[in-house]
Amino acid sequence: MAAITLRVNGEAHTVDVEPSTPLLYVLRNDLDLSGPRFGCGLGQCGACTVLIKGEAVRSCIRPVSQVAGQEITTLEGLAQNGKLHPLQQAWIDEQVPQCGFCQNGQILTAKALLDKTPNPTDAQIRAGMNGTLCRCMTYYRINAAIKRAASTMKGAL
């Protein structure tokens, strides 16, 4: 066990866990953040995605000791000043989710994608999002929501 300090959604938290513990379990069980979800524990599906320094990271295979002190953003931290992120709003406007279990990973992966590629084509969306699985198969609406958010964010600049 070791004391590790994490910066999550702008707040510092110190936890006492095995350094090898995957970040996912610390976020969910110690910090009560349920946005990231367990889907595979293998880094294959994306349900556990968080943002670390703007990158979409799979928290189920990232040891907590490796991310100490780094700024971590979860789904709960995406809204700013009580206002949903344009991606979240687009997800509502397009009525994207079915069961919704994977949508944490979809939204945060899309955030990382739009940060790098503000106006993605359909092909760029398909490629950029490809590793993030949805068993309800809401891919078509996710694509639409990403383009809608891109358009909103462009207008906001």
Binding site: M1, V17, E18, T21, P22, Y25, R28, N29, L33, S34, G35, R37, F38, G39, C40, G41, L42, Q44, C45, A47, T74, L75, E76, L78, A79, L84, Q88, W91, I92, Q95, V96, P97, Q98, C99, G100, F101, C102, Q103, N104, I107, D122, I125, R126, A127, M129, N130, G131, T132, L133, C134, R135, C136, M137, T138, Y139, Y140, R141, I142, N143
Partner: protein, 776 residues
Amino acid sequence: MNTRRNFIKNTGILVVGIAATGGGLPELFAQVATGPYPDPDFLQLDSWIVIRADNTATFFVGKTDLGQGTGTAFRQIMSDELDIAYDKTSCVMGSTHNTVDQGGSGGSDALQTDGYPMRRVAAEARRVLLEMGATHFGVPVSALAVSDGVISVVGSTAGSRIPDPGPRQVTYGDLIGGRRFNVTLTGKNTDTTTGIAKLKPVQEMKNVGKSPQRYDIPGKVDGSLKWAVDMTAPGMVHARNVRPPVAGATLVSIDEASVKGIPGFIKVVSKGNYVAVVCEREENAIRAARQLKVEWKKPATAPFPASDKLFDYMRAATPSSTGKPIETGNVDAAFASAATVVEAEYDVPFQGHTAIGPAHAMADPSNGQMTIYTNDMKSYGMRNGVAQFLGMPRDQVRVIWMDGPQGYGRTAADDAGFEAAYIAKEIGRPVRVQWSRQEETAWDTKGPAYAFKMRGGLDAHGNVVALHYDACAADHNHLGYNEHETVLISQLMGTRKNLISQGRASLPSDMYVIPNRRSTTRVVPLPMPFETPLRTGNLRDPDGPQVQFALESFIDELAHKAKADPVEFRLRLLQASTQDDSGFKRARSIACIKAAAEKFGWDSRPSPKSAVASAKAEDILTGRGIACAYRSQTVVATICEVEVNKKTGRIWAKRIVVAHDCGLVINPEALIRVVEAGTLYGLSRALHEEVKFDTEKVTSVDWMTSPALRHEDTPERIDVVIVNGDPNPNRPDLQHYGAGETMCKPMLAAVANAVFDATGLRHRRIPIRSAGIEMP
């Protein structure tokens, strides 16, 4: 005791707040009851509807919303019958202690079956409230009108005891807020529950046909929704299962010392061949499950053939049961005189449920009761099953339904809930059970594999004169719904149900008029029926995608032999009679095919496209295929356009049109999304999904070895055409049918038919991608 009265009193405010954030249940936030938990009485109006002083209403329904918006639809239809504004309502679903047992989800029956008693009880509440209003104003009911929960005096009040106009409006909340209806309903069960009020004609329903946004979505995108996976309780611990390494292995010994040093290790729980480890922290439970040394003895004989020998095995196996042959006309004579006879075999492998989130549940044994927090679609069945499994009285078991990963029938037999309850009882603490990905993909329930043989006869004009459909399903010992004798933990503990379910091989769903027709079906067993990872259970429209793949591929093969356009060929088969069934499925099938063809811009010609053109063409070949199906009363026709890459063999469904007739549409925008996603789910089964196994174990264990549709497969365009093909489309009693599954059924054949159109190659085994595309 947790009466409805207490429930309102203690949690009334919270219900509204929770509904606004998208689901969840008040018990999670308010300590309302310590049990026991008697069943809500479905014959009491108060069990279904609560109206508060602020003129808001909450509907309590015994269904579960798996993410297809049924909760929103219930609010729409019940708001309409009650005459209250949609946004003044909320919906509580699926928990055994505060909603009547309507069976949870299954069979896409939420609106088709359960929607009607919900409408009737809401209409009855409106009737009772109008009577109260009449008493309040001292006027006859005929002098009243109601809109958005406000009753107004509109007719003549001559002779009433109210001498002058004065206040002429009263709200539902004024009349009954905070009090019970105390109205007894009639009916033998929740399907037939009714008052004496009549339902509204479709034309008077204000919310039906509009598309309010689904109330569950905001909480799913801002992270605020609490799911079953998120449930905790004071003192809760974490458990993980340890499965036999090969199917049918028996436990010899456990070396508990192998995990004793793990921090927070609590216990190994074991009975028969069931083994689990329990630790204080989740990551340590995962480690303990990996580290525990267990000696297993392999079975003497192989539990099943390897997946690459499955269809040979099935075709040669002795059936465990045989369906009664169905025959119309004189099939033998028709084949004997047919100008052309076509034969083909089709194979569909086992396909897994493979939910995006593996099985999970939290069980709390506090107060001598057992409360299970779960995403079980059939929560009421789990309550009964767990009570029997643990030997507890029913009313001491409570199942609280919460959102979870869509499982397409996986949670109809919710193993994790039983496991959590068993371990919680053993150790006397709240326990969370979470399956691993590998465990879920290998050991979840499977849709049965099918081997088909089709035979068709054409006359000299290309008319279908005979059809023989022969289906063989590997479906012996099909799993029951949350049965205490058949869930996996029970099987592993050695329970053997006396009467093994025979399973079934199903018939296709079509309205084709074929004069001479024979259907033969049989079920074959695998060598090991128990404790097997090839347990068959209901997978989204349990057999529909399989059987419709065979039928609709073969219809295309017959059209090809007849040198006919596939759309025209199908329309000819449907129009060969003018007789229809009571639901007009034949007429509605014609309407859907025509609507799909029109939207797609179908070019009439036989398939395939010219082989010469294909040979000369670029690397990308294109083609289009159609297939159709019904489920219960819902009819679908799907057209798919594919691109086939000659070099890589990749198939891309570039464009899809789905014409969909489910009768009265409650929420068009929600329906369109359900149909889009369900169609892509069918595409995933067509192109990717297969459970592979050797002769000892399932080898499809994660998303690499068990691939599914991904973003790269997303079509460029999907059009959903909402069809109302009823001969009397404006009938005031137009029925609302289920829409959760039908769209999956035709997709497999639509893709196969499109690939044939593009390449001239007929694919008769699912998934199509794994067969490869070898160009001529």
